[in-house]
Amino acid sequence: MADELTPQVPPDQPRIGVDEWVASVEGKRERYRGPVGWLRRGWDTAPAGARLLAFVIPAAIFPLVTTEGNLFRYGLITLLYALLGLGLNVTVGFAGLLDLGYIAFFGFGAYTYGYVASVHTGHHWPAVPAILLAIAVAALIGFIVGFPSRRLVGDYLAIVTLFFGQAFVVFVNNGDRINFWPFNRTDLTGGANGLDNIDPLKLFGWTVNTTKEYYWFTLGAFLLVIILLYLVSESRTGRAWKALREDPLAAEVMSMPVNRLKLMAFVFGAAIAGFAGAIYGSVQTGAFPGDFDVGLLITIYAIVILGGAGSLAGVIVGALVVNGVPELLRDPNQAEWVFYTALVLLVLTKVRPWQKLVTVVGGTLALGFALVAIADAWFPRWTAGEPNTGKLAHWVSHWMLLPSHATQIANWAYALTIALILVLTLLRGWWRTIVMIPTIYVGAFAWENLLVEQTVGATRFLLLGALLVVLMNARPQGLFGTARVEIV
């Protein structure tokens, strides 16, 4: 047995016929040693049930040890995002169909639920039929939107679905004053103000009211969906989806009805999004057009891509990171800690060998203190600004220039940071090390004087955008994926 398990070709021989790009990416994975490698191998060999427990146990403990507010922000929203991610993972991750209108299905779920169970419309359906209807409507819309996917490939599908997502937002924004046949003066969506006063979930005599109860309910829903999806992914349908993603033509010739499989992937993804939408509607007791915009689409894509398209575990980790980190950034004090911890970790793990590490750390610190000293002596305006709140920000102010009226300067610093980071990717060797010093400093300058103030809005989203670009360049298969997704 042992003999059989060792490859007959020594690993240092060139592997003929290996897809180069895949091999180079795969090579990065092979390199993990030490605790990371150990964890990775352990994870890869663990049975599915054990992997699920690794998520369920912390998820079940979490509400017992945290506050209501944190449970909502870190727990409930992460779960909802993860649930949405699961659906997108079917269409994009499994079947390889780039669906950019995905959020509309989520919206259809929320609005359908709101339509049949809210004060706004006066209907008060119980939760079970209301949720089932939301799922059915979303699935039906998924079927209709998926229909062109029979003929459209790759990019065309992407643009049609993106347009559809946008059309949905236009529709709900104006759905309160549709006034032509056959909808004379109907109010379907509440328009720009949305559907408010949506009923809480009532299931078999249990009214889901508090955040904690919603958390439990959503956790249950999430577990149900992930288990069912796992079973599907390990069935003939799941394998056919993956085959379709890899090579649609080969799949078709190899007995798989590609068109039907595409539609099924759309319908499954949409149904899950509709389910998530119904829960979301009742969680925030309303459905508002602004919630279903491109921002959420990018967020969910970031989750699926970061976790690794096609990987169910990846969705959980992706949701934790993509929702958790920006939430941490919300509080300026925490944001400082997050930023500098991330910066230090990045430098510590990525800069090798130690000579370069010492140069970068020493150089950056020296540069900062020198600049502050010079500014103190001759250019007082450059240190006249107020440090941000929190202990860390106070320490940082000894090292960082904080000009008064910094907006203009900070804008240029932001542009300069981007330029420097781009230049950095082109440099190698010691030049890279040397340029890294001003890059870090200017980046931190832009952070202190500009980015930290916008963490709720722009900063959060531009970081997500940058994350997608960096991920695609550095690790396109995400954290857990081994798959590269091919769309032809």
Partner: protein, 265 residues
């Protein structure tokens, strides 16, 4: 010993792309248990022939009969379900799926359980899943030492070129075809591997009981396996018969060596 009913028969099949005739008025038949080779220079329409048989292209004219039933106009997956499986000259494996999954995935058409049955783990889904796995391992075992167990869970892209070709054949076998279409199974292989492929094709018939239609450039392979050889040039059948007869046919030599060109000069 031609049977009265050929397994696969093409009658007067023509196909052209925008004025360029690729196959013209082609008659071809393959009997049960036979190995027929299609030879011809590049651009002779060999791969197009496969694409027409498997339903990727629709012929402009003519009939294609599988066991006396027309398969013209069916989608490729329906053709496969009727019992025609193929490999690709350019190799089209599902590269990111494991070797085993590659062979499991193509049994989609042979199985019936819906995703809902899979979700609820109903008996039919479980039984089919077991069968799919068994059959996949059985087909892979056919290749003996070349695709041994430890490779089964590796992704297909980690396989060598020759092994990718073997996996393509295993994948085609797993659809349980009546007839296997092999598109240049020895392309890009070294002499030892070519020899192995020749033996493998023989073994496919002897042990696997497959009927095989094969496109091949390598004359050693063609000589080693064929019951009958069909030569195509510019979409027209120019010779048919035993290997020796076809290989010495003046028109075949002309097509390959461009004698016609030499004469007109």
């Amino acid at each position: 010993m031609a049977a009265t009913q050929p397994l696969l028969a093409l009658r007067g099949v023509s196909k052209s792309f925008g004025g360029l005739t690729v196959i013209s008025d082609l008659d071809l038949h393959v009997d049960e248990g036979e190995i027929v080779s299609v030879i011809g220079p590049n651009g002779a329409g060999k791969t197009t022939l496969f694409n027409i048989i498997t339903g990727v292209y629709r012929p402009d004219e003519g009939e294609i009969l599988l066991e006396e039933q027309s398969i013209v106009g069916l989608d490729p997956h329906q053709v496969t379900n009727r019992g025609v499986a193929r490999t690709f000259q350019t190799l089209r494996l599902f590269l990111n799926m494991s070797v085993r999954e590659n062979v499991m995935a193509v049994q989609y058409g042979r199985t019936k359980s819906s995703p809902f049955e899979a979700m609820l783990r109903l008996p039919r889904a479980r039984r089919e899943e077991r069968e799919i796995r068994q059959r996949a391992e059985e087909k892979l075992s056919f290749f003996g030492q070349r695709l041994v167990g430890y490779r089964w869970d590796q992704p297909a892209y980690s396989l060598s070129y020759a092994n990718r070709r073997r996996l393509e054949i295993a994948r085609a076998m797993a659809t349980e075809p009546r007839i296997l279409l092999l598109d240049e199974p020895a392309a890009g292989m070294n002499p030892a591997e070519t020899q192995e492929i020749t033996e493998l094709i023989g073994k496919l018939r002897e042990e696997g009981r497959y009927t095989i239609l094969v496109i091949e450039h390598d004359m050693h392979v063609v000589e080693g396996i064929s019951d009958r050889v069909v030569a195509l040039d510019h979409g027209v059948k120019i010779a048919e018969g035993s290997f020796d007869a076809v290989a010495t046919d003046p028109r075949v030599i002309e097509a390959y060596l461009g004698l016609r060109k030499a004469e007109t000069k």
